[in-house]
Amino acid sequence: MGGIVEVLILGFLISSLYALTALGFTMIFGVAGVLNLAHGAFAMVGAYLAIWAMSAWGWGLPAAAAFAVLGMGVLAPLFYLVFVRPVEDRPIIVFLATLLLAVILEQSIALTFSFNSRILPPLWEGSFTLLGTRISYNRVAASAIVLLILLGLWLFVRRARLGKAILALSMERRGAALVGIPARQIILGVWGISGALAAIAGLFIGSFFGISPLEERLLLVIAFSTVVLGGLGSIPGSLWAAFIIGYSETIIQQFAPEARGLASLAILMVVLMLRPQGLLGRAAA
């Protein structure tokens, strides 16, 4: 019993963080048709921006976090303008440019901060016990905040003008252009939102589990897997996939902690073979 409660609670946070990481990735793909392989690096750099603000300027956590989210919100569109837009019509070059950008960001951060993991302080210290499982307040706070963000994003896409435009653009590019949606500006905006979401995910991962420059690769694999498993460009699909991957990892860790990474990859492969278009994707991408 205690084991089940533990899995339910532990899996929730990691799954929602995976969802947060994947959302920005899927938005860029949906709207701009770009697989941004630097997405994991954006999350990692976001966390390090906060670490930097705290150690260099002595800022508190809230200010540093805001700085990181805004910083990535500005940096991501900048990277897009410099490295992606000039080669936008060549998918393979875009793909490789973002990959190289990721490696460069990873190496630069490692040079400045070391390859070692860093920790951001928790939002809320201490813990309580529920049905024999110790749960930290930080975890509750983090899960709540992530849920709020996911909810806000959903409302934004469904209700706000910009959100609707993004949705329209991701469904049918030409049609969106016909009804007068300014694709170029919106793409820039989506890169900003995606960068900011990545930074938030990076901050939580940094505060919860610790972050290192090489973590970028793992985050990218997670985002990539989640998005493909859910069906490219499908936001609800990504959410489902995030929870499937997060929970399968948590359950496996409960029984065989040494095989954790291997098992989730195996699950991913099986699903991909059974449903090549992802869970909620339209057939033939």
């Binding site: 533990e6 070391s114 390859f115 070692n116 920790i119 919860f208 948590t250 860790q253 095989a259």
Partner: protein, 462 residues
């Protein structure tokens, strides 16, 4: 046991890099000549992952040692000069780094933090044929090669740390001598990352504890994947296994470390965290973990303690040596060893009367190095070299018993396997030093004769 570690650059070092880049790009590396003989400086080459804290600290220690030796007239009247090359933590880069150094005129080589690098370099040690003083990686495979093919691998000596088979011995000594007899623990949970080097330790711990006549019980053994993000469930499992027992978590981790330590502190796990934690050997561990390091214990090869009469003068000199990386103030374990390596070279060269410049003189110096720690008639090692990391001597060719036979057999080795040129492990020799982080400083808690502070519990258990 290998790990990347801390690194920080000030604006000044950044500018220095930019300058160096501009300089370097204007020079062809192909044009650098070998050191011309004569009163030219004698070149020592260091190959290490330069983008890590451990690479920086080792370089600083070597620069310190060389500046001291040069100020006192060099070795046999010749001044020393350090050249460095990046081995990048990769098996294919390490041999290129060695060839780069020798190509630039290095006559003696030191370095390699990662076992991956040392293993990769085994392909070129027989080719470069220069004295190689290992100062970081602990893979026993290197000295097994010395045993198997002496003529080609005699150039390699491991000045430290003790090889990874011996780490289990050090761990047992600590568990019995300190955790059981000192703190009165009756159980531990072995908490190991799932890597090849931890296998002999998790497999051998219960057996060797029993063999040592200890009542200390291994309540559970948890092996976790290196990419584990959330340790909560694993800590809960450890706490459940320790229900009603007195003890703590015994860590065996190198690639992971910061992450579990930080989560352990954030969740206030009600068990002390002791053991082998390579990240905790980094002088900035406390800062990297936002203070979660408090009370964490790890095995290391050197610390600011009277290990020998040279240790404390070295740590003080290291801190006040500002000619290189002034921001690195606490020497890493491989910094102690690198500093020892350079003085060991001096001692051996002066005894041999030559500097190792060609194969004949190198062989002469190797002969002198082999005499450090040679067994006396009573079977005890004699002629030890007093370094900062202990009294150093090397195991000899054909000397069985360095590692307990059952452990060797479990690793597909003959029970009489020798480890020539590996640094001797034992009390008074290179013995494991156990440090505990207390108020942001690493303090020695074991062995008792070197202890600078008594053991403390984590703040939430005090």
């Amino acid at each position: 046991m290998t790990e990347f570690s801390c690194k920080r650059h000030s604006r000044r070092t950044f500018l220095k890099y930019v300058g160096a880049t501009a300089m370097a790009l204007s020079l062809s590396p192909l044009r650098e000549g070998p050191g011309v003989l004569g009163q030219q400086p004698f070149r020592i080459g260091m190959a290490n992952p330069l983008a890590t804290f451990f690479g920086e600290a080792a370089e600083k220690a070597l620069r310190l040692g060389i500046s001291e030796i040069n100020a006192a007239g060099g070795i046999l009247g010749r001044p020393l000069e350090l050249i460095v090359s990046d081995s990048a933590g990769r098996a294919d880069q390490a041999p290129l780094a060695l060839q780069d150094l020798v190509g630039r005129g290095a006559q003696v080589l030191t370095g390699f933090f990662f076992s991956e690098e040392l293993i990769g370099s085994l392909a070129v040690i027989p080719i470069v044929r220069k004295l190689f003083l290992g100062t970081g990686a602990s893979t026993p495979a290197a000295t097994i090669r010395v045993s198997q093919d002496y003529d080609n691998f005699k150039f390699f000596f491991r000045v430290g740390p003790i090889n990874s088979f011996l780490i289990l011995q050090a761990a047992i000594t600590f568990a019995v001598g300190f955790l059981e007899r000192g703190l009165g623990w009756n159980a531990i949970v072995v908490f190991a990352e799932d890597a090849a080097w931890t296998q002999p330790i998790t497999a051998g711990f219960p057996l060797l504890l029993q063999a040592a006549g200890s009542k200390l019980q291994v309540a559970d053994t948890i092996r976790y994947a290196e990419d584990t993000t959330d340790f909560t469930a694993l800590f809960n499992r450890a706490v459940a296994a320790m229900q009603g027992k007195k003890g703590g978590i015994f860590t065996v981790m190198a690639h992971t470390g910061t992450r579990p330590t930080a989560q352990w502190a954030a969740q206030q796990v009600p068990l002390p965290l002791v053991g082998i934690n390579v990240h905790a050997q980094d002088g900035r561990f406390d800062q990297n973990t936002q203070g979660a390091a408090e009370s964490v214990v790890t095995l290391t090869a050197g610390a600011r303690a009277p290990i020998t009469e040279r240790t404390i003068p070295f740590t003080d000199a290291f801190e006040s040596f500002t000619a290189f990386k002034p921001e690195v103030t606490i020497p890493s374990y491989n910094a102690f060893i690198s500093y020892d390596a350079i003085y060991l070279l001096k001692a051996a060269a002066e005894k041999a009367g030559v500097l190792p410049t060609d194969e004949a003189s190198t062989t002469a110096v190797i002969g002198e190095l082999e005499k450090f720690g040679a067994l006396g008639p009573d079977g005890k090692p004699t002629n030890l070299f007093t370094g900062t990391s202990g009294h150093l001597g090397f195991y000899q060719r054909g000397e069985a018993g360095a590692v307990p036979a059952p452990l060797l057999v479990a690793n597909n080795l003959p029970p009489t396997q020798d480890f020539p040129h590996d640094v001797r492990f034992g009390p008074g020799l290179a013995e494991g030093i156990w440090i505990q982080w207390q108020s942001g400083q690493p303090e020695v808690i074991f062995p008792p004769n070197l202890a600078t502070k008594p053991f403390v519990l984590p703040p939430w258990l005090r």
